[in-house]
């Protein structure tokens, strides 16, 4: 395994020459690969905007990191799935933060992270309240960060109620990605999600609240689309409330110019103290979520890699290094140093070319298999597009749908960390098997025989034979071995 490239090795302090040398050991003349990873059905000008944004491009999420700064704690609506009363460093869900920042503190934190985490490409403000309602703090943060780090992408997340008031400032700040959370286009359904909104100096309740919110959300989409700002729409899937309705929501928001629709599962737990948590409203299972996402179809326009991160998350999607960068750990003065970022970007550009070539080869392998089933494969990865995490260390698995037609990321499954100091616990493994519902094979960098046997007993095969391969290459090799053999045996 001398020729493996890990993301850590790329991100660790190293010269460009070292990074390149590591790439060349991989056996691919990567500088000559150079093929574009732009999806065939995406316009070049859109690809330019999204190619380094982990939330907007599935390809980018293997390489690039985002950070949220929690400068906007105030909110202008109440949602039944949100409660900002508690913050806990161990919880991961939107609206949760451990440390609120002033715009000045936020700028210091962004510069410190940019110097330490070369993968950082995006600064987002997602609350923990609403970034547009608490606009003065959002604006002050973006203005100063853009001056200090010119190549960072700015994005914000909002419920849309206040957005129309600031659309011109949003455009002039070059915020070119905006996420609007839209859970309904029928205010009657909204009454079961939003108890109130605060608008034009008044608290509105009932149907009035949802009507106002709906109208402002639609207006926000129109204003953003008219300014060619990329729109992502987030929807929370709430079983029995808006699940089927989201099909209609998806149709409408895409017609209004949304580039991506991201359907997320409701996170509901009585311990969170949310209205839904307290009333026992359940969230969807992973397979229910997948079934709805499949109905929404239109793969390129549906986001499947969302991790529902905290409003102060730092790092690649699925990892959170926020606790490394709390204010007490930051120096008083930090100067921006672009050297490592530039080196990392050069290396990633090469690596992505190789990844694209690998994907094409994987597709060709799969296409050569005539009849084989569609299956789900779970992959343990630390990023970089490789099968590079030990089974026992995984806190989530990326799930791919595989058939002769190709390999598609369809989501991720969060699991309890199974391995604790080298001793896996059976109880956790039960939870893990439940989380892998529908999955037939697991690929990871390493797995012990004991968990492997337990998974096998549950009907899930697991393998570390493709350790450190590109994800697509490993999946294609496994799939070909599994199903071509079967065809030969039955022929």
């Amino acid at each position: 395994m001398a020729n493996l490239i890990t993301l850590e090795s790329l991100a660790a302090p190293a010269s460009t020459a070292d990074m390149r040398a590591k790439l060349e050991q991989s056996g691919c003349a990567s500088s000559s690969c150079g093929s574009s990873t732009r999806p065939a059905d995406m316009a070049p000008e859109i690809w330019d905007k999204v190619k380094d944004h982990p939330c907007y491009s599935e390809d980018a999420h293997h390489y690039f990191a985002r950070m949220h700064v929690a400068v906007a704690p105030a909110c202008n609506i109440q949602c039944n799935y949100c409660n900002r009363k508690y913050d806990c460093a161990n919880e991961s869900r939107p609206g949760v933060v451990s440390e609120r920042l002033t715009p000045e503190q936020a700028v210091r934190k962004v510069v410190a992270v940019a110097n330490t985490v070369p993968q950082l490409s995006v600064l987002g403000i997602a609350g923990p309240g609403d970034a547009c309602y608490d606009w003065r703090k959002t604006r002050a943060t973006f203005e100063e960060v853009a001056k200090r780090i010119p190549d960072i992408k700015l994005c914000l997340s909002t419920n849309g109620l206040a957005l129309p008031d600031y659309i011109d400032e949003i455009a002039s700040l070059n915020i070119d990605h905006v996420t609007v959370t839209i859970n309904m286009i029928d205010p009657e359904i909204g009454t079961r999600i939003y108890p109130w909104v605060f608008f034009r100096n008044k608290r509105w309740t009932g149907l009035d609240a949802s009507k106002i919110l709906h109208e402002r959300q639609m207006e926000s989409l129109d204003l953003l689309a008219a300014r060619k700002i990329l729109i992502k729409v987030n929807s929370v899937m709430i079983p029995g409330v808006n699940d089927e309705h989201l099909i209609e929501v998806s149709r409408v928001v895409k017609a209004k110019g949304a580039f991506l629709h991201n359907v997320m599962p409701l996170i509901s737990d009585p311990a969170h103290g949310t209205q839904f948590g307290l009333t026992g409203q359940r969230g969807p299972t992973a397979m229910e979520l997948k079934a709805l996402q499949d109905k929404l179809g239109d793969g390129a326009k549906l986001m499947r890699h969302c991790r529902q991160c905290r409003a102060d998350a730092v790092g690649l999607l699925g990892e959170d290094r926020g606790q490394e960068f709390t204010m007490d750990k930051l120096p008083e003065e930090v100067a921006f140093d672009p050297a490592r970022r530039d080196a990392y970007r050069a290396v990633v550009a090469e690596s992505r070319g190789e990844h694209a070539t690998t994907k094409a080869a994987a597709d060709a392998t799969l296409a050569a298999i005539e009849t084989a089933p569609t299956v789900l494969v779970a992959v343990a990865t630390k990023g970089g597009g490789r099968i590079n995490q030990h089974f026992g260390h995984a806190t989530e698995f990326q799930v791919f749908e595989v058939s002769p037609a190709g390999i598609t990321l369809i989501g991720h499954r969060k699991v309890e960390n199974y391995c604790q100091g080298g001793w896996g616990e059976d109880a956790t493994l039960d939870g893990l098997i439940a989380a892998l519902e529908g999955v037939s094979n697991v690929l990871c960098a390493r797995i012990g025989s004991c968990p492997k046997d337990t998974l096998a007993a549950a009907g899930i095969t697991a393998s570390d034979a493709h350790a450190y391969d590109w994800i697509e290459a490993g999946i294609a090799a496994w799939y070909a071995a599994a199903y071509q053999t079967e065809i030969r045996l039955t022929a």
């Binding site: 704690p73 105030a74 900002r84 009363k85 609120r100 309240g129 605060f198 100096n201 008044k202 608290r203």
Partner: protein
């Protein structure tokens, strides 16, 4: 004639400070405090006190 904030329940989101037409609300140490001398309960400005209307926690921004 003033409102007050029950500090133990307050999430310190600051929405009330943002909405107050009298600049009566400010962060003192780690908590938002309403200056009773400045608070008008929004009389003459709005139908209802803005701080209580926007507060996300029930019974936390109340008449003093």
């Amino acid at each position: 004639m003033a409102y007050k904030i029950i500090v133990s329940q307050c999430t310190a989101c600051g929405a009330c400070e943002f909405e107050c037409p009298s600049a009566a609300i400010a962060m003192k140490r780690d908590a938002y405090i309403i200056d009773a001398a400045k608070c008008t309960e929004c009389e003459g400005s709005f139908d209802k006190p803005q701080c209580a209307s926007v507060c996300p926690v029930p019974k936390t921004c109340v008449p003093a």
